[in-house]
């Protein structure tokens, strides 16, 4: 007997050690993951110095050292981002053996040009037509003035063109509708009527088209004028490169920057990341539409899942009799929480998009269906939100039930004994007391859903969507539109990109933004719970 007790005691120690180790392992893994993402994100945003590398064979290039490893033969190698894609037969990166490097310098005049196309350009100042070299501040001033003139002279036109494009889309669709009505009209007067409408629409359509063509011509002319302004650079090898100012997003001279200037550039890079559209198949530019799409998706999901889930939880806990039906419902809910998210995606595709969306299209846009155009019958943010809502629903229901169960029955009875109805008791006493638990569960579910990707791939997330689901064009909220999403964006850049290496920094950055979003949600859940607890604290119970 005594021996057995001893055995359990030492077992207990081993057990504690085991639990401690697993906890430590988990923490360590989380720490490494977080560190990896943070360090790489920081490196992607912090202005790095440009190195000018001279090799043993006499060749010279400019680049950022990004990686180092041992080759299979055991030689140390360095990877440089050399940019200048169009000059390097499409490659942005280059490996060199450390032993081939004769010297690495950091010329203060080295310039990093962020271009609208072909990725970055790394170079040195180049001689102008008169043989003189433009100073950085001169070029910077020229770029600023160029941008101001562009914004004043060309940008309004570009906007006008974009909105004309949308107008055309609308008129085109209503022409389609008129034509459809005409083809199906039985009686002669109705046919006549819709034919008249169709003619009117067609006229409007061609008017819009003509206007947009005129504007387009003008815009192209202006653009042409603008594109005549250029800046001259040189490669490390001394080759002159002429870049039109229109292609330059930004030019910087990182080797000459002070720490403060670097910090400033860092802040600008963060801002660009969050507010700019992606460029060049998502390998460059920012992640604004994905961030916007994610936030809006989570919002729509919350709006759809919260009331439903809370109502269902309340019903199950407060009103349903403990019969077969409620027990089945409870088992079903618990099982739903374990269904893989891709299955929800398939359900969303089948039920929401093909079923509901298709029915909506058949009902209100038969002419578009006839022409093979999807409106609601294709992926859209609303369907994604509903699918995600469905996915979080079980969690919300369970959280609600559990939160309601924590309210002491004495409180319930106290209210009922004062002549309150069940609903009054629920509304005035129980729900306020359960709200911290309900909200916490809900926000945690939301945080999980915010990072969910699989179901979105089937229900409306796309790699590139220039039109946001919320904008200044009537009717402002476009729930049927496809959208971009941070999680899907990570997948797309990391695994579907034509230039995976170049988009790597953005993958880390996007992951960081998504993590911050999720942590922010979790953190708000914790603060909310604390504040509610303080308010509805049950001291003495």
């Amino acid at each position: 007997m005594a021996r057995r007790r001893d055995a359990t005691r030492s077992d207990g120690k081993a057990w504690i050690f085991l639990s401690w180790t697993s906890l430590f392992l988990i923490l360590a893994m989380m720490g490494v993951l977080g560190l990896l993402i943070c360090v790489n994100s920081f490196r992607a945003l912090w202005p790095n110095r440009i190195e000018q590398v001279t090799l043993a064979d006499g060749s010279v290039f400019l680049g950022f050292p990004v990686n180092a490893d041992l080759s299979p033969e055991g030689l140390s190698r360095l990877q440089y981002k050399v940019a200048n894609r169009e000059l390097n037969s499409g490659a942005d990166f280059r490996w060199v053996y450390a032993r081939d490097i004769v010297s690495a310098a950091r010329p203060p005049g080295a310039v990093l040009v962020n271009r609208a196309e072909n990725g970055d350009f790394l170079g040195l100042p180049g001689p102008g037509a008169d043989g003189s070299f433009e100073k950085p501040e001169q070029l910077r001033a020229r770029l600023r003035s160029y941008r101001e003139r562009w914004n004043a002279g060309a940008e309004p036109l570009r906007r006008k063109l974009a909105s004309l494009g949308e107008d055309w889309q609308r008129v085109h669709l209503s022409a389609l509708k008129a034509q459809y009505a005409m083809e199906r009209a039985a009686a002669a007067p109705a046919k006549e009527e819709s034919a008249k409408r169709l003619r009117a629409e067609r006229e409007r359509e061609s008017a819009v088209k003509a206007e947009s063509e005129t504007l387009m011509g003008e815009f192209n002319r202006i653009k042409n004028d603008f594109s005549r302004e250029t800046a001259v650079f040189a490669t490390a090898e001394g080759e002159t490169v002429v870049l039109p100012l229109s292609s330059i997003v930004d030019a910087s001279w990182p080797n000459a920057m002070t720490v403060m200037e670097r910090a400033g550039a860092f802040a600008v890079n963060v801002w660009r990341l969050l507010t700019h559209y992606p460029r060049e198949a998502n390998t460059e530019g920012g992640i604004y539409p994905a961030l916007f799409g994610t936030v809006m998706l989570v919002f729509l999901m919350a709006v759809s899942a919260f009331p439903l889930g809370v109502a269902a939880g309340i019903y199950l806990r407060e009103y349903a009799h403990d019969g077969i039906l409620s027990r089945t419902a409870r088992v079903a809910v618990n099982n739903l929480a374990g269904v893989p998210s891709i299955v929800y995606g398939i359900f969303g595709l089948g039920f929401f998009i093909y079923g509901m969306g298709g029915a909506i299209d058949d009902l209100i846009y038969p002419e578009r269906v006839a022409a093979g155009i999807n409106t609601y019958g294709g992926g859209g943010i609303i369907w994604s939100a509903l699918t995600l809502g469905l996915l979080t629903l079980p969690v919300v229901i369970v959280a609600t039930e559990e939160a309601l169960a924590t309210v002491p029955s004495e409180i319930r009875q106290g209210s009922l004994a004062l002549g309150a109805t069940r609903f009054q008791t629920l509304w005035r006493v129980i729900l306020p007391m359960a709200s911290p638990g309900i909200l916490t569960g809900f926000i945690l579910a939301m945080a999980r859903a915010a990072g969910e990707v699989a179901p979105l791939m089937l229900t409306g997330a796309v790699k590139s969507a220039h039109n946001l689901p919320l904008d200044g064009n009537w009717p402002f909220v476009h729930l049927e539109r496809k959208f971009m999403h941070l999680g899907f964006h990570i997948y797309d850049m990391g695994f579907q990109s034509p230039n995976v290496e170049a988009s790597k920094p953005l993958v880390y950055l996007t992951a960081l933004v998504l993590l911050i979003l999720v942590f922010a949600l979790n953190f708000s859940a914790i603060t909310l719970r604390k504040r509610m607890r303080d308010k509805y604290a049950m001291k003495g119970f």
């Binding site: 009799h321 403990d322 002491p408 004495e410 409180i411 009875q413 106290g414 209210s415 009922l416 004994a417 004062l418 002549g419 309150a420 109805t421 009054q424 005035r428 006493v429 306020p432 007391m433 308010k535 509805y536 604290a537 049950m538 001291k539 003495g540």
Partner: protein, 258 residues
């Protein structure tokens, strides 16, 4: 609503009352009159059905699935289990104070006026007056008058129980049921509650369940002794305590069981 013919008779009376929790019978053929304006104590060993009887009076037992009542229980001559009776109205007429103080996690003020608010009273002045009146009646006013808007959870256990009494008093019930109201309280708070009961009776009919014989003797006018779901004996408190008729009563009072 109230039956004036019964103004002098017992306020409530049970006749042939049986109560079942599913299969289990908790009350057996209870015949008991609750005297108007007096304090009646229900005593008896644990599990004998005191609480069950109490909860029959405001039909709180309705909340128990599978429970069932037989016989009649009248309030002012009306059968409270009759089909057309409004339970909400009944519970306003028969208030209840529980064993464990159960204030709501709201302000003191909101706790007191809760019953009025849910009854649809909106007038600010009316609510304020009712709040002050109820708190005064429950001897809590002086202690809380400066912090009515603060959370009730900050009060002590004894204050909680008086707040619950104030909450019950605010809806002006005819009867206040108290199920071991002092069992969770310290002796000083107990004394306060006992004083309060003596203060309230007359205006209100009080039915109190207690395990404390001294307490029953101190606060009640009449006492009913329950034993194994049956009413053994009922009478004037003094008489029942000094000269019990039934042997079980005597055994219980002398502490031979329970």
């Amino acid at each position: 609503m109230r039956n004036e013919d019964h103004a002098d008779g017992p306020i409530a009376s049970a006749a042939g009352l049986n109560f079942f929790y599913g299969e289990k019978q908790a009350l057996v053929d209870i015949n008991l009159d609750i005297a108007r304006g007096l304090a009646t104590a229900l005593i008896g060993p644990s599990g004998c059905g005191k609480s069950t009887f109490l909860r029959c009076l405001n039909r709180m037992n309705d909340l128990v699935d599978g429970s069932r009542v037989e016989g009649t229980l009248t309030l002012d001559g009306e059968d409270i289990n009759a089909p057309g009776v409004d339970v909400i109205d009944l519970r306003r007429r028969v208030g209840m104070v529980f064993q464990k103080p159960n204030p709501f996690p709201k302000s003191i003020y909101e706790n007191v006026v809760y019953g009025l608010r849910i009854a649809g009273v909106r007038g600010r002045a009316e609510l304020d007056a009712a709040c002050e009146h109820s708190l005064r009646r429950s001897a809590l006013w002086d202690e809380v008058k400066d912090r009515l808007r603060e959370s009730a959870m900050g009060l002590s256990g004894g204050q909680h129980q008086r707040l619950c009494i104030a909450r019950a008093v605010a809806v002006k019930p005819e009867i206040i049921l108290m199920d071991e109201p002092c069992s969770a309280l310290d002796p000083r708070s107990t004394v306060k509650i006992e004083d309060l009961i003596s203060e309230l009776k007359g205006d209100y009919t009080i039915v109190i369940v207690t395990h404390n014989m001294q307490q029953a003797a101190r606060v009640s006018d009449r006492t009913a002794f329950f034993y194994e779901g049956k009413l053994m004996e009922e009478g004037e408190t003094k008489k029942l305590f000094t000269t019990p008729v039934r042997k079980e009563t005597e055994d219980y009072l002398t502490g031979r069981f329970g």
